[in-house]
Amino acid sequence: MGHTNNEHGTGGASHGSVKEYTIGLLLSLVLTAIPFLVVMYDMASPAITLGIILVTAIAQLFVQLVFFLHMNSSSEQIWNTTSAAFIVLTVAIVVIGSIWIMEHLNHNMLMGH
């Protein structure tokens, strides 16, 4: 995001365009509609539904990052991308780690006895 809107005149085009935002909106609408429809009309088994929710959500996160936040690997973006990668790792440790630990805790505490 570094210099998003500080470059008078030269910025604009490389930081987003009507076309880019429109594609982003359409993709995000489609990727939202798919899991909603699958769940609302009970179109698949629970395991497949869960998979569809997961895949469309992750795909949508990338759509948002690329089309709306204009994230890429160019040199002026590198610190944003690096910090984001670090946060993704941290978030994964926090979420997966918590769930993992609590699952084991519940198991070892003899829930239901």
Partner: protein, 206 residues
Amino acid sequence: MSNDHVIANDAHDHHDDHEHHDTGGDTIFGFWIYIMSDCILFATLFATYAVLSGGFAGGPTPKELFDLNLVAVGTAFLLFSSFTFGMAMLQANQRKMKGMITWLVITLLLGLGFLGLEMYEFWHFSTLGATPQTSGYWSAFYALVATHGLHVFGGIIWMLVLFVHFKRDGFSEDNLVRLSCLSLFWHFLDIIWICVFSVVYLVGVM
């Protein structure tokens, strides 16, 4: 009227343009770091939600209460508001005050629409016996969803403040940096909401 401000500011700022660039870029990057830290806040709330998601304590379950039609409308509001904010940014890049304000007002209304639906939902749930005190599940639900809602509320207040700033100073460097930061914030809220509707609502009614 506002165009006069633009020209005046551009002329005035021109001699130390470069310095402003660097400061603005640093500010935006700093704000980006704040958003990353906000991600961790939400991650802890998501983890809490996941851990408590089986604890209903005899209270209502999400499957009984969630109305996906309502959630779909709220989601559409947020997705469109991300797009309209993008349009506002493009207008700002071209220094078009009227267009930018128009798109920002649309964004504001979409945000308010989303918040209105959320408030209605919370009220509706509470009349059906699902309050934060009901069970571990509902505590985690309200903590997560309302924290996102509070962020949207904060974004709306920020937008109102920016209207005053732009009215007063036009397209000054500071205002453009402020607008860029709010843009990051707004898109970020959209990203968090994608995780919320996927993890809480869709999985909740499965």
